[in-house]
Every structure is written in structure tokens, then in C-alpha cells.
Amino acid sequence: MAISMVWRRGRTLLFMAVAVAALAVSGGARAAEDPCDALAGETIRWIVPFGPGGYDAYSRILAPFLATRLDAEIVVVNMPGAGGVVGAKHLHKARPDGRTLGLLHGSSLLVAELFGNADSPRLPADFTLLGRLTRDSDIWIVADASRFQTVDDLYAKDGEGPVVVGVSSTASKHWLSAIIIGDLLGFEADLVSGYKGAKASLLGLLRGDFEMMGTVASTAIPRIEAGEVRPLLKIGQSTAGRHARFDDVPRLEGLDGLAVRRARALGRDPELARSRASALAGTIAAGRIIAAPPGMDPGLAACLEGRLFETMTDTTLNAAMVKAGRPLDIASGTKAAALIRQAKRDAASIAPIIRERIDKAKK
């Protein structure tokens, strides 16, 4: 009797041990199926295609939060050059094993493609897009003492000559914007190019070198609050660039945007105007894109996209970003890619204008 009881209990124990072992093995196997686990304990290089500044700041604030979620070490590497193209090319050529990620200047890559720069990588085809950290809105400003009190004054000044606009260089984002805005709103613009950066352009505006310029909202806000400049119009709908001073500023794009209303007033095709304004807004607002090299394993890409989205919605991260003056306007990689593809489709409507002006500038 005693022996059979021992045998029964021993058999039970044996069955329990086998069951526990089977559970442990199957649990481990399930854990190993998570693609991000392959990055645990690894070092990830995070490419920033600029020197110290906004992109670098965003990356260094984000890095420790993402590192925690991936259980990896993230090393931020600055690779400045060619307006962000050097870093973008390096990221494009890296191995798509999750150990090289980067933050791209979306609008500069789209603008480079619009201007036919064959050397620049293409969005989204040449990368695996994992998310969007933030995006810009552009604000077009004039000096406070300017003769343009509202945007209507831009095209209500017959006989007073073209509007003089300051830009950094031909084939820059703001050069593109100035041409398209002038075409959509029906005023002639003379462009002065060569200012090195937004701050130098801002000084030029305050000195009276030119009458109008475009800049990102974050650069414009301090000058607007100081009463030195006034916003005339805005492009893009970034939440990061939102400010009470912009609430009454007319927007260029949209079904009831400035471009459509002006087209109706001039007897032009409102749908074409809407498309062109949308192309411009989409190009400007392509944003700061988190990307990996192309050809990444779909499972790994999906996992990274998910972890990144969790990180970007972390309230502590958001608080740190706001404290550093770097608000977020996030999107998943899938959504960011879709918006970029839409912007590129719309861009077909502005390509003829760009080609004409480039040819004119070269003469």
C-alpha cells in the first residue's frame, strides 16, 4: 500500500515537473519570437544628420527612453553635411538589422527630390520609416513696421513693384515656398538669396533688406512676442508649432484655405490651387522622421515601430521635450509614410512651376 502511494505521488510529481518544464520552454520560445529581443543588450547607432541643434536635441532626449524600452544602448552619432544628406545616405547604406537608426529631415529630402537631386536618398522608398517625432509649420512674417498689415496687402498693392522675399538659397525649402505662394496668391515676388540660416535671415528682415520671409514657428514665436515681426500666413498643421498668436493667421492649404479662396477670386481652378497648396504643406510638414535602412525584416520593423510609438507617447518624455522647447507631433511610421506618399503625389502639380523658375534663375 505504502509503495503504491509513493509511486502514485512520485508519478504525479514527475508529471508536474514535466509540465513545468514544458511551460518554461514554450514561454521562452514565445519570448524569443519577439523580434525586438534580438536588440536586447546590443548597441544601436542613432544617426543625426546635423551638428548640435534641434535634431541633436530631440535625439538625445529620446535616446534614453527608447533604450529602456529596447533594453539596448543607444549611441547618438552626429554626421553633419550637405544639409542632412550625408547622414541620410549613411543610414540608407547601413545594414537593416536594427542596430542603425536615425532621424531624417523629411522636408529637405522631399525638396531635394523635387529639384531633381539624383544624389539624395528618396523618401519613403529608400528607408524603413518607423515614426515621426515632430513636424514643422511654416510661418511667413513681415517686420512690424512693414507696409503689409495683412496677407491681402500682398496682392492689393498694384504698381508698387514685386514683394521682396529673403531666402537662404535657390532650391531651398523657403525658395520653393516663396514661388508657390506667389503663384497661388497672384503676386510677384523678387527673391534675395544667400542668407545663412533662419537667424541671419531674421536680422535681414529687421534691417529692412527685404520685406517678407518664411521660417519655422519656433523661430518666429520669440520675435512675434517681442513685437518685432508680424505673421501674415501659415503653412502646415503641426501641433508642435501651435501658438495663440497664430490662431487668426490665415492658412494657405485646405478646402477653405487662402489658396482656394484666392483661386476663386482670380477665376482660376480651385482644385488645382488646393492640390498645389497641399503639396507645399505636405512637403514642409514631412517632419523629423525616424527611420532605419531599407529592407528591414517586417517583423523587426513592426516591433521597432511599436516600441517607438510607446516611447513617443510616454508622458515623461513629452514633459522633457516641452521643457527643452522641443514639442512633439508624433505619428507612426505607417502614417508618416502615407502622408509623404500623398505629398509626393500632390507635388506633381507644382513640378512645372519649379522647373520654370529654376530655368529662369539659371539665365
Binding site: G51, P52, G53, D56, A57, R60, I61, V76, P80, G81, A82, V85, V86, K89, V164, S169, T170, A171, S172, D190, V192, S193, G194, Y195, K196, K199, A200, L202, L203, G204, L206, R207, G208, D209, F210, P222, R223, E225, A226, E228, K323, A324, G325, A361, K362
Partner: protein
Amino acid sequence: MDAVLNAAVDGLALVFAWPNILYPVIGTLLAMTFSFLPGVSGVTLMALAIPLTFGWDPLPIVLLFGAFMGGATFMGSVTAILFNVPGGAPNAATLLDGHPMAMRGEAKTAIACSAAASAIGSTFGIVILIALLPALRDLILRFGPPEFLLLAVWGLSTVVMVSSKSWLKGLSMAGIGMMLAFVGLDPRTAELRFAFGTDYLHDGLKIVPVLLGLFALAEMIDLIASGRASISGKRNAGQLSGSTRKGCLAPFRHRGLMLRSSVIGTVVGAIPGIGGTVAAFVAYGHAVHSSSEDPRFGDGDIRGVLAPEAANDAKDGGSLLPVLAFGVPGSEGTILLLAALTLHGIEPGRELLADQLALVFALIWALFLSNWLTSVLGLAVSGQFARITVVRTEFLAPVILSLVIIAAIVYRGQPIDLVVTALFGVFGYYLKRYDWPRVPIVIAFVLGGLFETNLHLTLQLQALGRIDLLARPIALVLVVLTVGTLLVPIIRHRRRNRPGSPR
């Protein structure tokens, strides 16, 4: 004015409160160490420090970075004096007379003069900065593309001053410098020029590999090839003839030049985007053309050390003016200072000056403290520095060459910078061997971009009727100064060569 004075006192209290004082002291020591290494400068240190100081409060940031700015300039002149290697482009003016003094065994005098002139010049710049705080905005807005263009031209005209042996050689080298400056993107059209299809040259050549090659590497090759026992040609420190006292008293002996050079440095430093190179060379040029007594410029005249050093350090105070008023950098160092400030949520401009004036003064006092600390420490060890000029070549050259290689690779992490350094090193050696001046290449390379950008802007604005060149008094003054800089040496040369005139 009361508000300014109160803020100045509050700022001073912030700096000297414990443990705040540690930041400017440590910052100064780090800046001195970094700036002594060839090709590595205070700017490199600032770039490295930005990510490491993430999450810090604003006060330590301004104290640390203010100290970095103040501590870097003087040490760059020490390498210029000892090794004929400028720590940065602004220090290139110092080597014109500083290194010949070192080769004569008077390195201690040159370093002491540099230390004293730096301290006094920086004090002048800071005093002017404080005095002009209420009028910052209007002052800076008076300088536009025509003024920037003429400042670049004035700086380029000093090529004549530094090429006293042969203007033709000097102008030829300046031409090469300008061509090197044009490599990369056209500032107007963004078209690529002379990049030969490479990403490396997309943004143009960088000053650090060029300086490392033209000076550091070329000097070491020359030192080895010449067979000289040491930099000074002497074998022990007892043979050195320098005097710390003589060097310290030089700014007082030439107080007029000292004051004028400080004014030049402050004014030029205040103009956004100009930087120390123009300040230093314009001050040097002024020293040359204002001297009347037995000038030995180019052969070890102490005034040739005093003037650029005073201007170079006075510009630190001046360069804060556009940064504080508009957030526009006035020099390479202030570019990174600005990056550090904005990264930590400190936005320069009217609000900063109105609401956080004490923080602004903390930055100014940190810069002041750092300048003086650097000069005092530099004076204290000037004798030890001078001993480097008797270190035997077979020991010194490998060390310097190793530092050059490390600096070239570490600069941007691009090994091709080492190739560029090597190419310019060979080029610089042959220039020195056949007595062609190298400094005009540096002047033109640094100022070429400024010249081209503002030439295009000025022509565009003139064509659009946005500016009237004849109605800009500052521009007219700059034209007169430039013409004077060009004509004075020619007139002097003719007077000296007139039959019957004393030689």
C-alpha cells in the same frame, strides 16, 4: 541703468557662490588643455560638452560655456608662438611675430605679452558689452551685407601687411585661399562647385585640417628637415633670453596700440558672423601701419603679438552682443554657445535681457573670470611653456605629429580629414621652404566665404533698390580704412626707397 547694475551684482554673486564657482574654474582648465592641443580648440570642447550637459540647469550651463569661450583663445596663441601652429584661425596673426620671438629664445616674453594683452583686451570688451547692453539692438542692425562685405575686404587687405617681403607672393597665396573657400555649395544657387562628385567636399574644405596641415605638419617636417636641434635652436633653458616682466609691461608701454586694438576687437566681434580672424588681422595690420619706430614686423616685433591678442580677446565680449540681442552668433565659439543655450531652454533676445539679466551677467562674469584665470595661469607657466622650445627635435616632433594625426581623425571622425591634412602639410612645407607666405591663404580661406556671400547679397539688394551704398556712413568709413590699409605700406616703401632717405 539701476536695473543693469543690480543685475551685474546679482550675476557676480551667482558666479562666486559655492559650488557655482567650480564651473568656470573647471571650464577654464578644460578649455586651456584642449586649446593647447594642435587642431583641437575650445570649439571642439564645446561641441563635446553639449550632449554631456543635457538636463543641467541654466546657470551651470552659462558658467561652463562662458568659461570655455574665455579659456580657449589665449592657449591657441601659445601654440602659435611656440610651434608656429595657430590654435585657431584667429591665432594665425600672432604667429607672424610670436614664433620669430620664440626662435630667438624669447618665447617667455611673447607668451607673457600675449597673456597680459589677452586679459586687458577681454576686460575692455566686456566693459563695452555692459555699457552697450541698452543699445544693443540698434547698434547691430546698422551692419548689413555691404558692411560685412567691406569688413571682409578690409580683412583681406591685411594680406598686404603680412606679405611685406613680397606683395605679389602674398596676393597669389590669398588667391589660392579664396579658391579653396569657394569649394562646396554656391551660397546663392546651392550648386556644387569643385566637389569632384564627393560628399566630403559638399560643404567645402574645413579650416581645421587645412590649418593642421599648412602649419602643424609643415612645421614639423621643416623642423626635421632643417636639422635644427630644437625649435629655438638652443639646447638648454638657460640659453633662453625671454622675460616675463618685459612681456607683461608691453601693453602698458604701447598703451595707445593696446587700446586701439581692443576697440577693433570689440567692434568687429560684435558684428554677427565675422569672428576673430578679421579682428586679429585688422588689429595686426593697424599695428604695422601705425608704427613709426624701428618696426620689425614679421621678424619678432612684440607689437605684432600685442595687437592681435588684444583684439582676439576683446572680441569675446563683443561677440556676445548679437548673441544676447538676437540669438545670432558673432563667432564660431558663439555658434556653439547659442546651441547650448537654446538646447537648455534659454532663448536669447529681448526676453532674456529683460527677465533674466542676472543670468546674462553670470555669463559675462564667467567669461571675464575665465579670461583672467587663463592669463594668470599662462603667466605662471610661461617659463615652462618656453622650455618646450629647447626640447630636442627627435623627441618633440613625434609627439606633435601624433597629436596632429589624432586631431585630424577626431575632428569629425572622418579619416579623409587626415589625407587632407597630409596634402596641405606637404604643400605648406614647400611654401615655407621656398619662402612663400602661408598666412594669406588662411586669411583668404576664412574670409572668402564671407566675402562672396555678402558680395552677392549686396549686389542683389542694390539691384532691387533696397540699399543705397552712398547713404551708409559705416560702409564709407570701412572703404576709407581699407584704402588706407592698402596705401600706407606702398607710400612707406616708396619713402624708404627714395634716394637720400635713411634706411
